[in-house]
Symmetry: C2
Subunit: 480 residues, 2 copies
């Protein structure tokens, strides 16, 4: 007889069949009712033990966290809260779990702080909260792939180790094989990276965009989905040193088409989560309500978790130019009453999270796409508008979180790009291959980047980004 | 009117409709027939120009590699080789391509060596060969996700930067932020990694398996699919310093179930490629035939590419113990006639690619799974058999390529694992979390690793692993 998952059994339409189930004990009430979980669902399967007929030693070992196997008959449940349960005929303890061990207390129903759980990152995924988050994360990742593949995109693995540090998107980590203490030196007394593994200085990628562009100019529609790195000393609830990024890039798409793509894509993956993670999202919604009970009224979320997700699906993303947004912000109450931390004085200001959230949550009350930003606050590769001072950039802004997507139409004109690189001190020699794209059959193209963990945070309602990735890497932290 | 991809148009059942198509010129015959490609398929769309009615300047710029837009009517084709074509009413050159530029010669129909193309990795994907390989790579990657998600697995992102160097699977790259020339030193004069970004020495991961095990012991079935790294100085056609690895891990699976999973999984993804990459695989099959024409008869493949793929689907993987395999090899002709480079003398020998290929290609004439290897040639985490000298390891061996999958049932017994780690000098302190899995609800579990590039090589028939990943990283090479 094949062993079935609890998710399969709970969905089973047949009862009065023999089953074998394996999982971990979540609770054991009255020496009679085992709540069994195997990770396939947040739900537990009730396994009913007729304790008088079982070995007392085995029952004693049936403690929270123990791995067990039960054989029995699947029957309709008499009790509340479940439709089926197992009448156990045989109970085997596969792996004990000492109920006295302090590490196991994280499995007790008593609430533990997320900080405490973070220290047990190898065990926290056994809790309801982290099980729900990580199952949802997996489903969201699949939705990303499914969306792009359905729409004719090619998945492209951009390189992780890069010899180019030209993009300037952020501080990089060095990848090296040289002796850490006594590196070889060249004749000028500098570290001789020619002796390193790649015979040059190499770093961990901060973005796969530039390489993705090379593929878009051949395959048409491509996307990356891989890890990216920032060596920035940001100890916040929004930053990780290692995170996963999604970067689609499409030949012949202008900025409008890019905005259409971003909106359609985000709605697809969020809808996928709503449809495929119903139980986990219900749990996470209740968790959030519980958590926010301790907060003052005005700090609580305006919408429940799934309501917020449906809000994204049901609203057109409002498209607003940066210039218009600055006007709105300048005239806004929080700006005039100096409630913003950063007062908007004039056109050209970089928007902060508080401004983005004001636009989304207070002013438009819908997701917002800002576009046509000042050239001087954006990257070198964004296409210059005819006004000579704005670029075809766009940011998608979400309630509660601010920027979730940043993208642009890329500068496809060789001369304009070269000039801009020189003005911004980006090496045209090192990025010769990026300029080549503008020499040989150049065309309009656009793309964007979405930090996957931000999406998971938004979808699961988790406040700290360290709680939506299995093993978070932050300054001072690379455990496990 | 929306712009459609060439793949969509070629599959279109409607003709006599207005279309706009954008892509890159592959050829322009007789000032009349443009073969247009946009990367959505290996096929080109024939665009017919009535040259007398077009501006001569524009026709002159319609050169190989140029990006163009054509507007016209989709009609049934009179010519051979295509069912539909476009009667062009308007032709716009979006981006020129100087036909004199030496870099563009790689787009000419003349064959270029794969080595030459490798130096133009940003442009090589515009050739038929690399377009076909990279589209197939994308489809294979999706098949991996689809298979696991359909079967209830959770995708898990194991960490890339790791603080643990305990696994010993290979040489690692150091990830650091310290000054390369003058790193801070501690009181003993050693490099003070406490001053580094993560406050300890960190490396790039060689495998996500150990972390995947922590998730399997909570979520039941998980898989990783991410980049892994080896700082080994192997300049071969089979090794990369950066490659993508797939590692499923399943709680309650023993080695037999693990073998079932590996076989079922591989057949699924290969079948997916056969069904979804028909045009690309046909092209690659012909490319390979062409390439092998120059080889002596006995070095040519016995089967055509797609025949070889179907061979995998149609054969049960033969399961053979290591001990049995050694007997077969010892008695084999190439061993007795000393044709093997490494003669098999006795039980305990590590098998080389030549031995694996002999078993698959000559002896069994089917894919083979070897299992129960000597403990001393395998990793510390593999489950010890009762004989005390073999472990529950398995390798899947394929024709032409040798090992494609390596896996094992993991040692789930705390005492046995701890003893083995100590004997093999693996730090039990550093891997306390790995031992914890055996303390709290331990259970039988198994998994395997499959190097994604090996799979792409096998499926596309490409001889060199550098030609199946966009930007290969090898000793001395981290270009782009």
């Amino acid at each position: 007889m094949q062993h079935k998952t609890i998710d399969e059994l709970l969905k089973s339409e047949k009862t009065h069949i023999d089953v074998i189930v394996r999982g971990w004990v979540r609770s054991f009430r009255s020496n009679r009712f085992i709540a069994l979980n195997d990770g396939s669902t947040i739900k537990t399967l009730q396994c009913v033990v007729d304790f008088e007929n079982f070995d007392e030693e085995i029952l004693k070992k049936t403690t929270v966290g123990a791995a067990i196997e039960v054989a029995g008959v699947l029957v309709e449940s008499q009790g509340q809260g479940q439709t089926v349960e197992v009448q156990v005929s045989k109970l085997t303890v596969l792996g004990e779990a000492n109920p006295e061990d302090v590490k196991l207390t994280i499995l007790s129903p008593k609430r533990h702080s997320l900080e405490t759980l973070r220290e047990q990152a190898h065990l926290r995924v056994r809790t309801n909260t982290f099980g729900a988050v990580m199952r949802t994360r997996s489903k969201l990742a699949f939705a990303v792939h499914e969306y792009f593949q359905k729409n004719g995109f090619n998945y492209m693995h951009s390189p992780i180790i890069t010899g180019s540090d030209a993009e300037g998107a952020g501080e990089m980590f060095r990848v090296t094989n040289l002796d850490a203490k006594n590196p070889p030196l060249d004749e000028n007394g500098n570290v001789d990276f020619k002796e390193d593994f790649f015979e040059k200085e190499t770093n961990l990628t901060v973005s796969g965009q530039l390489e993705a562009e090379t593929y878009a100019m051949a395959l048409g529609k491509v996307y990356t989905f891989g890890p990216t790195f920032r060596a920035e000393n940001s100890n916040t609830s929004r930053h990780l040193a290692e995170f996963w990024m999604i970067e689609p890039e499409v030949a012949f798409n202008d900025l409008d088409a890019n905005m259409d793509l971003a909106e359609d894509f985000i709605k697809y993956v969020i809808n996928y989560a709503l449809e495929n993670c119903a139980d986990d999202l219900e749990f996470l919604e209740n968790r959030l309500l519980e958590e926010e009970k301790n907060k003052p009224q005005d700090e609580r979320s305006e919408m429940k978790l799934r309501e917020k997700l449906r809000f994204i699906l049901e609203n057109n993303f409002k498209r607003v130019s940066y210039t218009e947004a600055i006007d709105i912000l300048k005239r806004s109450k929080p700006n005039q009453k100096k409630k913003f931390k950063y007062i908007i004085e004039e056109w050209g200001a970089d928007l902060q999270s508080e401004h983005e959230r004001f636009l989304v949550e207070k002013h438009f009350k819908s997701p917002v796409i800002l576009f046509d930003y000042p050239a001087k606050i954006k990257a070198f590769y964004m296409r210059l508008n005819d006004d000579g001072k704005t670029v075809r950039a766009m940011d998608v802004l979400f309630p509660g979180i601010g920027e979730i997507v940043g993208g642009s139409q890329r500068e496809e004109r060789y001369d304009v790009l070269k000039q801009k690189m020189e003005a911004m001190d980006i090496s045209t020699e090192e990025l010769y291959w990026y300029l080549d794209l503008r020499k040989f059959g150049t065309a309009v193209h656009s793309g964007f980047g979405l930090g996957f963990e931000r999406l998971v945070q938004f979808t699961t309602g988790m406040g700290n980004i360290r709680d939506v990735i299995p093993y978070p890497r932050t300054p001072g932290n690379a455990e496990f």
